[in-house]
């Protein structure tokens, strides 16, 4: 990767850069699907430039800057580049590249504006363009919000096509053959008559000419790769144990560290006594860090053993010590002065609530930890001039600034090696472990240190998904749902998360009620108000963010109303649906499961629909009420992402998302006592095991106008579909996750 570091944006402004006999291609001018007049006034340098393709005399390297947490974006990005570049899997290497503003995420704007994904109005589209411009200026390189595919879908194909056309031009000049007589295939230019020249043989010549800017993307009918099953680039390494994650990194003369920080998150350290720990085997040093202590040893295990022998006196938590007080604060926040936004006020709810049968209900969604299987870790080496850092992270540029602030280096001096991650689910958006490793590295100047969190420390410092409470009032009449008046109160996850990064985000937090305010139903009367609860425990984005809680609340309440009306849960949802793409998703899942067929007495089915990250998703869960508890038998899921890049990875991710949603809804929560999380390992936070895993039937539709990501959207409908199925099977309505508090699972 060292060579790539030498590619500067300025170099590219004057053409493709010569890199020791090679050539790097990128986009000079970004094509956008919408003409945005605001972009015209921007400094050209802020838009560009970004190298994605590096070819030298030996090999082709595709840069895949979106971080891979397991969702397979390395292969996805490579496939988009390779499609237009005309290279095959096996003919290139991939690299996560160096952090760069050039890799700003073009798709995050869609999630950053307070408009429904189905809203294509001038105002909504203009705001998306404005937000896109802001992100572009910030150079915000980030992976999250299911944006990797929408960000890459067009941009990387253009990058591939530019490189291909430039290579053809170079071949044309060198061998005096008109460009239009040249073809490309399998990483080679093909001349009339069949002679071929490999890209690697053309690299030096291509480096001398300006890259071709005007390219036309191929018609989808010509695609070789996109939409067809692919073999993931990481699959062999991940099946043979040789892939090196962050936790597997080794540097020469490296020492091993672990930390213990006040488990009352944000509380201080009053004092500690490390007399015993200092004398333990393998211990080299005991260092103070913010609100805690680090132990440096010759082996991670020695460090973890020693830190347990330190006596700590911890300060109090800056939030209520007991869980019931968290709920109490939320319960008291349904008041005018806490109103964050009245997102919807369709029809006339006040009047509608006076007619027909009134239903009321209250729902709770708990704190939930991310708990990816690879605990937090990083390797650091701090010297006077540089900080070198190895870890897997979703925000590579932001971390350079934050780590540099700790060590006293400029962000440009922080060399970050991004790595494959053993899961994240949002955990690796956070910076606290990197601040700590920076504090350690600063005190161990010159010595490489690997920090590994124990699983218990990881749980104690997992900023969980925010808790939320929902209160609904609604009416039904003549077998139909007439009105919903829904209120949701929750702390602001955006405020909590961005606050830790030193940023303030103005305006309402769309995530407090995501999955509720933005659903595409067309109810005759619908009011949706979100209340912002003063910060409680620090919280973070958890796979699908607000939609996991608020989607459960909305869909569960809708289901209650439909049952009260005596209507069919599927038929009534379809009748109420105001968006054609979403309606097709519901109709598809109904067809997949033969909805309406009679079931044995102890079985029940529930349907749920939640749109998140622009993806409408409908799920049907079928359960059996056995003598030992609820058994989840089958799940059918239909969703629409506009275009599926790789059907194999798509199915795997969707099934995994369903399992993630079901497993946490079944039995996972984080609760606080004495200011500390009560769950510290997988014995008390189990989610789903293989023996509980249902059959899951997946269908992806491609009717949506925009291409979307699928990492998160399958999660939110899983919980309400399960609760609705349990109601159908048992008559028991579950209004609080995890459901294991109220019912047993097999």
């Amino acid at each position: 990767m060292g060579r790539l570091g030498t590619i500067t944006r300025r170099t590219f402004l004057v053409g493709s850069a010569a890199i020791v006999g090679g050539v790097a291609f990128g986009l000079y001018k970004m094509a956008t699907p919408h003409d945005n007049p605001l972009e015209d006034g921007l400094d050209e340098e802020a838009v560009t430039f970004n190298p994605w393709i590096l070819i030298d005399s030996e090999k082709i390297t595709l840069i895949t800057p979106h971080a891979d947490k397991g969702q397979g974006v390395t292969s996805m990005q490579a496939a988009l580049l390779a499609e237009e570049l005309d290279v095959e899997f096996g003919q290139f290497e991939t690299s996560f590249g160096q952090p760069s503003a050039a890799y700003w995420n073009t798709a995050m704007a869609d999630e950053g504006v307070p408009f429904m994904a189905t809203d294509k109005s001038f105002m909504a589209e203009s705001m998306r363009d404005v937000m896109g411009g802001v992100l572009k200026l910030m150079g915000l390189q980030g992976t999250g919000g299911s944006t990797s595919t929408p960000d890459s879908y067009e941009k990387l194909r253009i990058a591939g096509a530019m490189a291909r056309e430039t290579l053809k031009l170079a071949a044309s000049k060198k061998f005096k053959t008109p460009v239009d007589q040249l073809k490309t295939r399998k990483a080679a230019v093909i001349f009339p008559g069949g002679k071929t020249l490999n890209y690697t043989e053309l690299a030096a010549d291509a480096a001398l000419i300006s890259p071709v800017q005007d390219v036309e993307l191929r018609d989808p009918s010509e695609w070789r790769l996109i939409g067809k099953p692919m073999k993931r680039v990481d699959i062999v390494e991940k099946s043979t144990g040789i892939l090196k994650y962050g936790i597997d990194q080794v540097q020469k003369d490296m020492v091993y560290a672990t930390v213990k920080v006040n488990p009352r998150q944000g509380g201080d350290l009053k004092s500690y006594d490390a007399t015993t720990a200092k004398t333990m085997p393998g211990v080299k040093k005991i260092l103070p860090v913010t609100n805690g202590v680090a132990v440096i040893a010759t082996n991670t295990w020695y460090a973890m053993q020693a830190v347990e022998e330190i006596d700590f006196e911890w300060g109090a938590a800056p939030y209520p010590a007991e869980q019931k007080d968290h709920w109490d604060r939320i319960s008291k926040s349904f008041v005018e002065e806490k109103l964050d936004s009245e997102w919807r006020n369709d029809g006339d709810v006040e009047t509608a609530l006076r007619v027909g049968k009134v239903v009321t209900a209250e729902y709770r969604s708990p704190y939930v930890a991310h708990a990816p299987l690879e605990p937090l870790n990083a390797v650091i080496r701090v010297t006077d001039d540089t900080v070198e850092l190895w870890s897997g992270h979703q925000m590579p540029r932001m971390l350079q600034r934050i780590v540099g602030n700790v060590t006293g280096h400029d962000a440009s001096q922080v060399i970050f090696h991004n790595l494959y991650m053993g899961g994240s689910f949002g955990h690796r958006l956070e910076m606290e472990h990197l601040k700590l490793v920076a504090e350690i590295g600063k005190q161990m100047r010159g010595v490489p240190v690997k920090l590994t969190y124990s699983r218990e420390e990881d749980f104690a410092h997992d900023f969980p998904r925010h808790i939320a409470m929902g209160r609904g009032q609604g009416t039904v009449q003549d077998g139909k749902v007439e009105a919903i008046d829904l209120e949701i109160a929750a702390p602001s996850v955006i405020n909590s998360q961005m606050g830790r990064a030193g940023l303030t985000i103005p305006g309402p937090d769309a995530q407090i009620a995501a999955g509720s305010w933005n659903n595409p139903y067309k109810l005759p009367n619908y009011r949706m108000r979100a209340y912002r609860v003063d910060e409680l425990a620090p919280v973070s984005s958890w796979r699908s963010v607000g939609s996991a809680g608020a989607g459960f609340i909305f869909d569960s309440f809708l289901d209650e109303l439909i049952h009260e009306a005596g209507a069919d849960p599927m038929v009534e949802r379809i009748r109420l649906m105001g968006d054609e793409v979403s309606k097709a998703v519901l109709e598809t899942v109904a067809e997949m499961c033969s909805w309406g067929q009679s079931l044995p007495k102890n079985k029940g089915r529930g349907v749920a629909f939640v749109e998140s990250f622009g993806v409408p998703v409908a799920e049907v869960v079928e359960v059996t009420n056995t003598n030992d508890g609820i058994k989840i038998d089958k799940v059918w899921i239909a969703c629409d992402v506009g275009k599926i890049i790789d059907p194999v990875n798509f199915e795997n991710l969707v099934q995994g998302g369903v399992i993630f949603g079901l497993g946490h809804a079944m039995n996972c929560e984080i609760t606080y006592s004495d200011g500390m999380a009560e769950q510290s390992n997988y014995d008390s936070f189990e989610a789903m095991r293989l023996s509980q895993c249902p059959e899951i039937f997946v269908k992806g539709l491609e009717n949506g106008a925009k291409v979307r990501g699928i990492g998160e959207p399958p999660v939110p409908p899983a919980a309400p579909a399960l609760a609705n199925a349990i109601f159908a099977a048992t008559g028991k309505r579950l209004r609080e996750m995890p459901f294991s508090k109220h019912i047993d699972f097999v």
Binding site: Q71, V236, I242, I247, T300, P372, G422, T452, Q655
Partner: protein, 153 residues
Amino acid sequence: MKIIVNGKAFEVNVSPDMPILLVLRDDLNITGPKYGCGIAQCGACTVHVDGIALRSCQLPIGDLKGEVTTIEGLGTPSSLHVVQEAWIEHQVAQCGYCQSGQIMQAASLLDKTPNPTDEEIEKEMSGNLCRCGTYLRIRAAIKSAAKNLENGE
């Protein structure tokens, strides 16, 4: 202390109560076995000791009797074990962090029970946690591997 891993003998100078997981990872730089929970709840650290699948986070080196095989010793990209072949064919992995342990557990299962029933698969594999939720592919891959074993591959 002596430890034999993947057919090679090593001499290590560590406390006898150190779990072999950390001996392998930090002293021998054999990183296929993963640290996930430290309390035998996730199975990411699964290795074979004389062919039996064990949680290496729970086995102190001082108590080790037998030869250790890790995922690196089970098969390599150029010489895959039948279970690894099936894992690749079904593209099981997402993040892949648990898969070393899953594969070692599955290899041990098929060694004892070459043609396992659904119940036997569930019983054997439910101690191995996958946070990404690849369970359906794990099931399918085990069945493929069993079939390939039966066909004498």
